[in-house]
């Protein structure tokens, strides 16, 4: 009963909503309106889970005097004070919740927390981004094209000069590592660039870096992302069907019942 009734509710609601998508009858629309309203109300209560778990964790940490228990006082006090101020003074224009707490506490804390990621990303790019394989090198070149092409400094850089720099880098890498593959690749690229120059009447081809970046994003990147999206969508639909049909029961939780 403790498992079968929830599974039955899930099946009923899932099938009803799938069928409702195709049925414009007023009874179907009324059912849709009613259940949509109920989901919004029930969804608001779901926040209780996260909030309650956090509060219980910090109270437990405080009671057991675990390492850093004094910081739990900060969290619980801040949560209580913000709730009281918010519930007491409301969210009208000029309320303390907006003017003081949101603008001068939440915004700087939240924004700074994510701003420091820039430094970590720079450090990680320096230490870990290695073009060890052809695929990694291709990823690097694509990243450089987008990084330069999407900012003002790259706006007036012809793609031809960018490829010349890449070619020089390939040649240097080939000589340093004494890799035949790199030197052959660099040589082939030189031939390609000279041919391109020839076709443009020995003037620098007018294709600019931002246009190349836009092409990289609109063609190969778009194709790759679409393929990934197909996979995610098909997986999502399959999982949704499994949940509705009761094949996927992880959401019921553990226990004998």
């Amino acid at each position: 009963m403790r498992r079968n009734i929830p599974l039955a509710i899930c099946l009923t609601m899932g099938v009803a909503m799938m069928v409702q998508f195709f049925v414009p009858h007023p009874a179907s629309v009324a059912f849709y309106d009613l259940t949509t309203k109920w989901v919004r109300i029930v969804g608001a209560f779901a926040l209780v889970l996260g909030t309650g778990s956090l509060v219980m964790y910090h109270i437990d940490k405080l009671q057991r005097r675990r390492t850093g228990w004094y910081y739990s006082i900060v969290t619980l006090t801040a949560a209580a004070a913000t709730s009281v101020i918010g519930l007491g003074w409301g969210v009208k224009p000029g309320s303390p919740l907006q003017d003081i707490i949101f603008s001068n506490l939440l915004v700087p804390l939240n924004a700074s927390m994510f701003a420091i990621l820039a430094f970590y990303m720079a450090s990680a790019a320096y230490r870990a981004f290695r073009a060890r394989t052809k695929e990694a090198a291709l990823l690097l070149v694509a990243a450089f094209v987008v990084m330069l092409g999407m900012v003002p400094i790259g706006a007036n850089v012809p793609f031809f000069w960018f490829m010349v720099v890449v070619n020089v880098a390939l040649l240097v890498a080939g000589f340093v590592t004494r890799s035949k593959a790199l030197l052959i690749g660099a040589g082939a690229l030189v031939v390609g660039l000279l041919a391109w120059l020839g076709f443009s009447g020995f003037k620098v081809p007018p294709l600019m870096l931002p246009d190349t970046a836009e092409w990289v994003l609109s063609v190969p990147n778009m194709a790759a992302k679409r393929a990934i999206q197909f996979g995610i969508a098909l997986g999502g639909i399959a999982t949704a069907l499994k949940v509705i049909l009761g094949i996927e029961r992880g959401w019921l939780g553990g226990g004998k019942q």
Partner: protein
């Protein structure tokens, strides 16, 4: 340089420095800021959930609105989501924690049922239309060429993820072509990620230099 005299701006600046201090090393000031952030977020969520969701959708129509505004039938109907919502609280009472399955079943079933046709339409049908039908492909040679390249890219990238058969022969060629497209896609994502992270840092510097220190206008 025109340093701000607003005490709240100084509070914001000090909290910014507190979070940034983690870059040097972990320290009590950073931990204080981190726990303050968690607490304030939770309190803000509680206040907004009450004023924007629970009060107007449930509490007001069920308990405060007169029968002339909300009929008895509608009020009685609201008891059902109220009971379902209250079942979430049972999570914290071990003996009756299984009651949480009821609201979860309702919300999950409803959500999955609503999502399936929408996902099929948005992620499968429309995307396949985009793959096979590109406007203007016979009007210009380059549009036709890029449409063909995209088509090949989509097919090969999808085939790369087909692991039910060993990647040999034609499938190997296709999946290796798919890898090329995927690598370019990931490179483009990395390039954009660099842009995103740097933007966030620039935003914080703009606050420090403009709003707090008044170095820039």
């Amino acid at each position: 340089m025109h340093v701000s005299t607003n005490i709240l701006t100084w509070v914001a600046a000090i909290l910014t420095i507190g979070i940034f201090s983690f870059l040097w090393k972990d320290n009590p000031f950073y931990k204080f800021c981190e726990h303050l952030f968690v607490g304030v977020s939770v309190g803000y969520t509680i206040a907004l959930t009450w004023y924007n969701s629970v009060y107007p959708d449930l509490f007001n129509p069920l308990f405060l609105s007169p029968l002339s505004e909300v009929s008895l039938g509608n009020k009685l109907l609201l008891i059902i989501p109220l009971i379902l919502g209250l079942c979430y609280f049972c999570r914290f009472i071990p003996k009756v924690s299984w009651l949480i399955r009821f609201p979860m079943a309702f919300v999950l079933g409803w959500g999955m049922g609503a999502a399936i046709p929408a996902m099929f339409q948005t992620y499968i049908v429309k995307q396949m239309q985009g793959t096979f039908l590109t406007p203007g492909i016979f009007a210009r040679w380059d549009v036709l060429l890029w449409a063909l390249i995209s088509f090949v890219g989509v097919v090969c990238s999808v085939l790369y993820f087909f692991f039910s058969k060993e990647h040999k022969g034609a499938l190997k060629v296709a999946s290796e072509t798919g890898i090329v497209f995927l690598m370019v896609g990931f490179g483009a994502s990395f390039g954009y990620t660099v842009m995103a992270r740097m933007s966030l840092l620039i935003g914080r510097f703009q606050f420090v230099l403009r709003d707090w220190l008044g170095v820039i206008k």
